[in-house]
């Protein structure tokens, strides 16, 4: 529990910044996203409280909100843990994101003002540069920022909020299931290609580009079938017909 993560937080506390449940939510979310808090990590209330310099009341509210955001598992009488979505849920999350982000970019195609379009292209450009110089954390940062901006720009705010949630959840599972052999989950040209379609104002082409992009991303992951508790239960629970 005493890792680099603590230092950031304690620095912030020392700097006199007011800590509220929102701060804790943000910090933990970021830490999970960047895998400084790997899935399964225990998050005891008192420990978190000490780290942030607040009491359990505040921590509890933060954990409840993180549970609503699918970032942590909060089960009765048990310590909260960083959630580790299953392979199946990972596939389903990607499918949901394809649907929602596809719709968002279809709505957005041809509707962006110059400032918004430029901001998106800037993020794409910076992602490319970060990739060129091999700065993977920066690349992820800009890639996330681009998608996050799309969610914010969505004319349908309900869909936008749903997309924000799905971006977070896919990021978590990407960190979780990334093939160790791959240095990066960078898909060359995908983001610029999307921006071209957005500028051209072709909703269905934009939707297709997003769909392909997310499918390619999912294929970069190692989602081979893996043993889960439930499968084991099913197998051990009821004897097979051959067993009598």
């Amino acid at each position: 529990m005493s890792n680099a993560w603590q230092e950031d937080v304690q620095a912030a506390v020392a700097a006199g910044i007011r800590i509220s449940d929102q701060h804790i939510v943000d910090k933990v979310r970021r830490a999970v996203l960047t895998q400084r808090l790997p899935p399964g990590t225990r998050l005891p209330e008192v420990t978190l409280g000490e780290v942030f310099g607040v009491s359990r009341s505040v921590v509890r509210k933060a954990l409840t909100r993180l549970a609503a955001d699918h970032v942590v598992d909060q089960r009765p009488n048990q310590v909260a843990r960083v959630r580790a979505p299953s392979i199946e849920e990972t596939r389903e999350t990607f499918a949901a994101r394809r649907l929602v982000e596809g719709e968002v970019v279809a709505l957005l195609a041809g509707q962006l003002d110059d400032a918004a379009q430029l901001a998106l292209e800037q993020e794409a450009q910076r992602e490319i540069e970060a990739h060129r110089r091999g700065d993977e954390p920066a690349r992820i940062e800009h890639s996330l920022a681009l998608h996050h901006r799309l969610a914010e720009l969505s004319p349908n705010r309900v869909l936008g909020a749903m997309l924000t949630d799905l971006i977070l959840r896919t990021s978590i599972v990407i960190a979780l299931y990334k093939r160790p052999s791959l240095a990066s989950c960078y898909l060359d040209g995908d983001h610029p290609r999307l921006l071209t379609q957005l500028r051209a104002g072709e909703p269905e082409r934009a939707r297709e580009v997003v769909d392909e992009h997310l499918r390619a991303l999912e294929n970069l992951l190692d989602l081979g079938p893996r043993e889960t508790e439930t499968d084991l239960m099913a197998i051990l629970g009821r004897p097979s017909p051959a067993e009598a």
Copy 2:
């Protein structure tokens, strides 16, 4: 604050049923859905605590979760209130639900086993009967149950959970914006038509039926531009022509 709603709850408490934050969430959600707690209603923590016979700790957790579910507004240092989504948000919620529920039924078409299909048809039948005898609460109950079952049956659980959320939110705004002249928001034949397509296994037809159903439902609402505070200002500022 002393309405029929309290009685139900106090009965439950008296019956010795254990009250937890989940119970409070359920109860409030139901009460909001059935408009026993109309939008804007103040939900002070102590009052709620007294009603349910628990302390503020439990109530607070429930309110936080209800806020995450978009049922209540929880703003710092202010009493939580039942949320009243704007007209714009209502339209966006319907659009989101068309997208998600359309996808869910497309996934479901031709994939339902007999038990599931039968359960759905039973709900549809009961809705029709309730409508025939003019029992609107029962009709709503069965209509909601049908859609809720679709969400549960979704092979993609992530989409299913999103749909559950959207069903709740649309129900709230239907109660909020229903034309007073209409006795019911019943659309004759829509649900049986959907079930036919599900059984026939035609994903795209099922998607279309859902899309049309939800558009028709939205059109039953009174979503004309309404006075917000600013509009009120404008109206009260200048007397109407007939008023002199």
